[in-house]
Amino acid sequence: MLEIEDLHAFYGRSHVVQGVSLRVEAGEGVGLVGHNGVGKTTTLKAIMGMGPRTAGRIAFAGRELRGPAHRRARLGLGFVPDAEAVFADMTVEENIRAAAMVHRNGDQQACLDAAYALFPMLEARRRQFAGTLSGGEQKALTLARGLALKPRLILVDEPSEGLMPRNVDVVAQALHKAIEQGIGVLVVDASFQLLKTVCRRLYVMKQGRITGAYGLDEFPTADRLVGAYLTGGER
């Protein structure tokens, strides 16, 4: 579904992503992990066409991905950024509808119902301005909004960051459900709890490169993963 070959991404002169190749199938959860600043978010933004200058090949559903972000989104590529992403002066419901309305003949009520089924906390606040939600609720809203676009594959950046464990579970379950519906998920995250619910495979990234690809079953415990590749890795 998503095939990336030798992707490079640049911000000005800094060469952030240095030849990343990876693959995500439909209905598959794939994690991208690594230390802060190794280029995970930049990789997602490069795929989405949101900012960095890129070189290399990105194929999505058999077509070369190019052009501005909104064209890529319309091919069925969803994006859930890590922060400052809700439309703060719009209500929760308007946030979701803005994405749902991209499909001219889509059933918006069905989209809203689906979003509220995944995240009941949003339904209680549906007429509230998104800017007044807590950090966790805003995370849920960005994810609900990303899914309202009905993507075939969704890029998710740090969905569990700053969430209480109970809410990490809610988010992980939502992503798991998306995968069951056949949506491909490429998720950048550091929570073992989330990764083991969502992902079947993991790519580890270091200094702009993929340094390893693993099945998640190679990491029976969080300690193994964290110890080897995440926050504690190179200390």
Binding site: F79, M90, A98
Partner: protein
Amino acid sequence: MEHVIVACLNGLVVGASIALVAAGLALLFGVLGILNFAQGDFFMIGAYILWLSVRQGISFWLALVIAVVVVGLVGGLALMGALWPLRDRPQALVLLATIGFSLIVEQLAAGLVGADAKPVAAPIGMRIAVGGTQYPAYDLFVVLAAALVLAGGFLFLKYMRYGIWLRAVAQNQRMASALGLPVPRIYAVAFVVSAALAAVAGSLLVPLTGVYPTVGLDITLNAFIVVIAGGLGNFRGAALIALGLGVAESLGSIFIPGAGVQVAVFALVILLVIGRARLRPVTVRL
């Protein structure tokens, strides 16, 4: 008492037309961060198209529709075309471009039709008895029409697809784009609606003011004041303050001689701006 009532009504008429122009300014600023100095020219072209159409024997009402549609589509999209190449350039450049656009349009109008004022008769000649005087019904119609158009604009922003998208783009354009919202088309809608709002005001006011190349100047200045005071990008705030400003100026001129009213209004605006300076940056709000 009579002249107080008449002054109030006059103020409402002026305020309503300022509100239309200001709403267009607020929209364009909120969505694109563009302070459009050509807004008064859309007002003026609307007036000219109405006058030309009426002179061709077209009914006033049809002429009104023609003026609004032509200015909205042609004017709005022409301005967008002029500013599009500058979209990633410094704001000052965009601002200058709107001033340039404005100068070109004004000179064209003066050259093509002459600088003298052209009258157009009001389509409603009736007068209505208000508080002991006879007030022209058309003037009241202008207020009503402006109110309806603004209410329509509000509902558009609140409920319609492109209305919701306009607000989304205003708040976070990159995110809106990543969600598949067609950003260039949303820009176009903002330009068209903004220009059309000015044209509504321009053509509605022709029977009261006549048409001349600088007819939009005063009202645009007032509209800028209103938009700044209301919080740039605040659609409803702009509309309400415009009405207040119109009435206040009109009433004030009874009691304060000469330019005193303008001075007082400017003083008030400066206070408002200072008060707002500490607030967060603005986007299109309802």
